[in-house]
Each structure stands twice: as C-alpha cells, then as structure tokens.
Symmetry: C2
C-alpha cells in the first residue's frame, strides 16, 4: 500500500476499471486531465453533446470542458444547461429543464450527456440520460470529492422526493468517469470535508489498511496534499468499482456502501435538502450506526473511538442537528430503499475493523437506544 | 394459419413468450383470465401491490383485479392510484402522483406495480416502476386493443413532453402481461378501431398472411367476434414478441414497429394530446408512409389500395386532420427518436407486401411531396 503509487504526473491518468460486462467503463484519475481532449473524445459517439452543470461550476470549468470536447473535433456541437446549485434542486422540476434543453437542441439518441459538477449534478444528469429517448450515452466529470470518490461511480442516478432522498431514479452506467483532481482546487472546505465521509466509509466497511492510512493522513487530506488526495480518490474508486462489479443493482453487498446513509438521509430530508451537505449527514449517520453496532455488542469500543477521532479531524459533525427527534428519524427511515416487507435493514459494523453486515436481524431496542441517545426528544 | 387455434376456452390462457434471457416473460391471452388468481399471483413477489389505473377503467375492473390479487392470499396488501384518463395526462405531473402514492403507502423494493388500463396507463405505470426506488416489479393488465396487441408488450415505457411523444422513458420489461379479452366488452368502438391500426401494421411490415386474414376478417373484428379478436391479439403478440426478442432496445429491426408512427406522433403532438387517439393518428400516418413508399417507387399501387381498403373497414382516418400543415409535420418530426445525427429515418414499405425498411436513405422530395399531398398548406 504505497501512497506514492498514485503520485501525480500531470496529464497521465491512473485508470480504475468498473467491470460490468458490456457496461464496463474506465475511471480516469489524475491532474490536468481536462487538458487531454482525447480522453473525453474517445467516449463521445455522435455529433451532439449536452453538458449539464450548475451556476457554481459553470463559471469555473464549463469553457474548459467545451474546449476538451471540441478541440480538433469540429464536427461536434456542444450545448449546455446550467442548473441552480444545491441538493434542494435535485427534483423533478429541475430535471425537466434538462429534458427541455435536450429537446430544444434537437438532440437524438446518438448524443452524449456530460455531468460536470458534484453529486447532485451527476445524479440528475445520469437520470436524465437514462430517461431521455429511453437512454442516451453519458459521461461523468465529477468536481467534488464526494462525487469523485463515490457518487459518480457505479450508475446510481436519480432525484429526491419531498418525502425521501433518491427515491426516483435508475441504475444507469456512464461511458467513463473523468476525475481531474485539479478541480478540487476551487472546492470550498466544507465540501472537501463532506467527501471524506465516504472515504472513511470504505475503510470501515471493507478496507482496514485504507482506514489506517486515513488515520495517519487525514491532516494531509484536509490540507489538500495532491498526492494524498489522488491516493484517497484512487483507493476509494477501487473499492467502489469492486463492490459495484459484484452487485450492480444492490441485491446484497452493494448496500454496505450505505453505511450511515439511512440515518444520514433522515437528517437530510428532515432538516430540508441542501441545509446539511450529504457527507455531513453521512458522518453523523456513521457515528450513529457505529454506536448502534456497539450497543449490539458487535464491535468493541476501540472502533467507536477511532471512528470518532478520524471524523473529528475532518471537522464533520458527529451528532445529528439538535432539531432532530426520534420520530423524525423513524418517519423518514420507514421509506428507506432498504426496507423490505416492512423490515428496515441497516448496515452495521460487526467484528474487527473493516467488517460489516447488511441485516434486518438486530434487536430493535438497540436502534431505539441509539436514536434516543442522539436526539433530545 | 388456423384462426380456430386461438378459439376461446374460458379461463384457459394461450401463452406467448417474450424471449429476453433473464428478462423473459409470458403473455397470457384468453377469456376469463381475471377469474384465475393463480395467473397473477405467481408473478407477485413481496407483500405489497400498487395498481395504477384511471377513472374510466377503475369502476369497471379495479375490484376484480384486487380480488384476483388477494384471493386466497391474505398476506398481500393492495393499494391503488386512479389517474385521469387520456393521453393529455401522460405527463410528469401525473406520473408524480404514482410516486406520491407509492411513497405514502410505504412500498419497498419488493413491491409490484400493476398497470390496469390502456396504453397510457401501461406506459406511465411501467416508467414509474422502472424509476421508483430505481426499479420494482410490474405487471401489465391491458384493457384496450391498442395495449393488448402492442403497447403492453416489449417494455417501452414513458411519458410525453409538450414538444414530442414518449421522449422521456425507459426500456423496462414487465413480469408478465395478462390479457383478459373479456375486458374488450366495455371498450368504446372508437378505441376498438384505434387498436386495429397496430394490428394492420404487423401485417404490412412482416406478416403477409396475417394481413390477408385481416382483409377477410376485419368486419368480424369490428363486430367483436371473440375468436377473431383472440386470434388477432395472439398473432399480434407473436409478431411483437419476436421483434422485441431480436432487438430489445431498438437498435434496428424493432424500429419497424413504428410504421406510420413518425407521421402519427406529429399529428398527436400538433393537434394536442388526447384529441386523436394514438391508433387514429397511426392510421393516417400509415397511409402517408405508404404513399411515400409508392412515390419512391418501392411498392406498387395495389398495396396502396389494399391498405386504404382495410383501413376504411375500421373507419379509422386515412388523412391527417385539416389543421395540419407541412411545417407542423416537419417541426415535430425533427425531434423524433429515430433522428440520428440530424437525419430523419423512416419506416417505409419496400417490395412485395409484408416487407419494409428502416432507413434515412430516401429522396427528400418524396417526403416533401407526401406532406404536401396530405396538407392544405
């Protein structure tokens, strides 16, 4: 496990493959990759491209991506649609703006949609690509840690419903994921930390060595050390790609990637989409899942402490917002996608660090106790 | 080709299989099938069902379907959502009502959606099933000729956009299609005829014998002769199943099922969704496609006459509405899903009866001449 194996060489991508038969695709990771038009262009079929981005990212990177798509490639025409920024716009009304633009631009089935932005943009653009003309090509260009380490890989796309996150969507794989780590230079610190919640998740559920590396290198990550970031992104993508390859449609093991997410989604939905960043809610949710695992006697207290310690280094929240009540948690968790025949299944840690289970077979009292411990009412 | 091979025996289904590997499913065709709970129940997994239907069909068949789902099966709970009836409601706002109901009813990934109605209900319920929690099971119970011979089979789902039909959707296969031909007893005559446009289509594009049978039996079909209807439905489903098995995602041959549809969609979109029934627009569109094929010298005039004659027996329109202009046709046809890199591909007849091509390689003048011949301006 040599972090320097991912040492930055501008313009030279590290490639992680997502192995899904005829839906396989590469993840390109590196610095300066948006200056390499051939990387993107080899995945664009047809003559028309629609870039889906937001008001924050467009001024920073839209021109650069248009250049990468069109440089030396005059036959391609590029349109763009710029959505408002934030989880609160990950809804059907905003999605319709993508369809409106695609239809006005006379895009046909051979077009390619490009998601340029964070997780919200990637999820919405992906769902739009899955649904426009019953499916067109798409490419992910994630510009946040959250999207680079997690949401842009694996084909989960969708939008929120007022009653719950990501309840409407599709499994739909991109043609490629292009991660230019230089785009993190402009990422606000709060967004940076948010992404680390998912990085920590991989360590906890399946990669002890990676977790230990994070314990030693979280300060470097927070300081945006390029080599540390490149390593964390690559290692996260390797974990994500492996899990997705085993279980594309979340029949089993893929659900473990949702450690802390059931609690986290309840927070995001209850406080109002966009108030807490996804990773902030996942961080608090992870602490709750770890607490519950400990109450069940499935992990020892050293793990509880190590999780808390590494999260403190990220400055992510480790408790839910004060306004959350036990009933709020229960009401949103009841519509979680992991409920099966009325039974809420959760991802919980069990055994030595790096091991988890996805199960509905747990003592309800432990869940109640955790909720009561983290809520004032 | 013995029509009596499909002679009605109440409660005994004829089965046509749609062969799509692990997405294969049966089409059950027959009289009294809604009185056979075991047919439906074997395709319901999980404990919750959501029936999607409309204000016209619900009073007629909703109770019957609820009974079929629950009879001897007390563990299953059934919810229903009743949408307004008509193509004009095949939109995102109406689709959201399905999601609202599904979420309020706490449905989870093991639930089953049941489409009970015509093509609009089937398309919307199917797209809702494809998108709810990124995909749940669904069953088609088509109650119109249109849906029984065409739209319920093959997994095309979706909704309309104000600028064009079926522009947003998914390829998503049902668990089964259950066609109880008794439901046609309550079908208005205009809807009955509308479905025959698709029946005629199968004959024209790939099944000469079937077309010849229709020429002899159209009066029996219009008179709702049960054996004639059962035969036409079975033969249509066989044709549809074969084409879909060859080309699920419309990379090629499946497009031929859209004979007349590009002209037809332009009519439906221009006059306003719901003004003309789908089959009415397809009938006029078929005459236009046949006219264009003749202008190109690809078919002889006897075919033109036979198409016109058989359609006249159905009382379906054989010209577009008077308000349609050449520009209206061109503007909607420009966003057709069969446009590729700016080129509109059409399904046209070529050669002896029963043969067609899907091509963008035709003389533009023939298209212009056809549009001008059928439009006043």
């Amino acid at each position: 496990m040599d972090p320097f194996s991912a040492k930055i060489q501008p313009g030279v991508p590290t490639i992680v493959n997502v192995d899904l038969g005829n839906r396989s695709y590469p993840i390109y990771i590196g610095s300066g990759l948006l200056n390499k038009p051939e990387l993107l262009q080899r995945h664009v079929h047809g003559k028309k491209v629609l870039i889906v981005t937001n008001t924050t990212v467009a001024p920073l990177y839209l021109d650069k991506v248009v250049d990468a798509l069109t440089s030396g490639n005059p036959n391609v025409s590029v349109e763009s649609v710029i959505l408002p920024d934030g989880e609160q716009y990950k809804d059907m009304d905003t999605l319709m703006k993508v369809f409106d633009k695609a239809i006005e631009s006379r895009l046909d089935r051979r077009c390619t949609f490009v998601a340029l932005g964070g997780g919200v943009i990637g999820d919405m653009c992906g769902f739009a690509a899955a649904s426009f003309l019953r499916g067109v090509n798409f490419i992910q260009i994630p510009t946040t840690v959250m999207a680079q380490v997690d949401s842009s890989v694996g084909g989960k796309t969708g939008i929120n419903h007022p009653l719950g996150k990501n309840l409407i969507g599709a499994f739909y794989q991109p043609q490629c994921v292009l991660i230019d780590t230089d785009t993190l230079d402009t990422l606000p610190e709060r967004e940076l930390a948010s992404g680390f919640a998912e990085v920590i998740k991989y360590g906890l559920i399946r990669d002890t060595e990676f977790f230990e590396w994070q314990e030693k290198n979280m300060q470097a990550l927070m300081a945006r050390d390029p080599n540390a970031l490149a390593y964390a992104i690559k290692r996260s993508c390797e974990n994500k790609a492996e899990v997705v390859s085993l279980d594309e449609r979340e029949g089993g093991v893929r659900a473990t990637l949702n450690l802390g997410h059931t609690f986290g989604h309840a927070i995001e939905t209850s406080v109002g989409y966009g108030q807490w960043l996804h990773g902030e809610a996942v961080a608090a949710g992870t602490v709750m899942a770890v607490d519950m695992s400990y109450r069940l006697g499935w992990i020892d207290d050293s793990i509880v402490k190590r999780v808390s310690d590494v999260l403190k280094q990220t400055k992510l929240p480790i408790v839910p917002p004060e306004m959350m009540t036990v009933d709020m948690f229960k009401s949103v968790m009841a519509v979680d996608k992991k409920v099966a025949d009325g039974l809420l299944r959760l991802i919980l840690l069990k055994g030595p660090l790096g091991n988890c289970v996805f199960t509905g077979d747990y003592d309800r009292k432990a869940l109640d106790d955790t909720l009561q411990a983290f809520c004032k009412s």
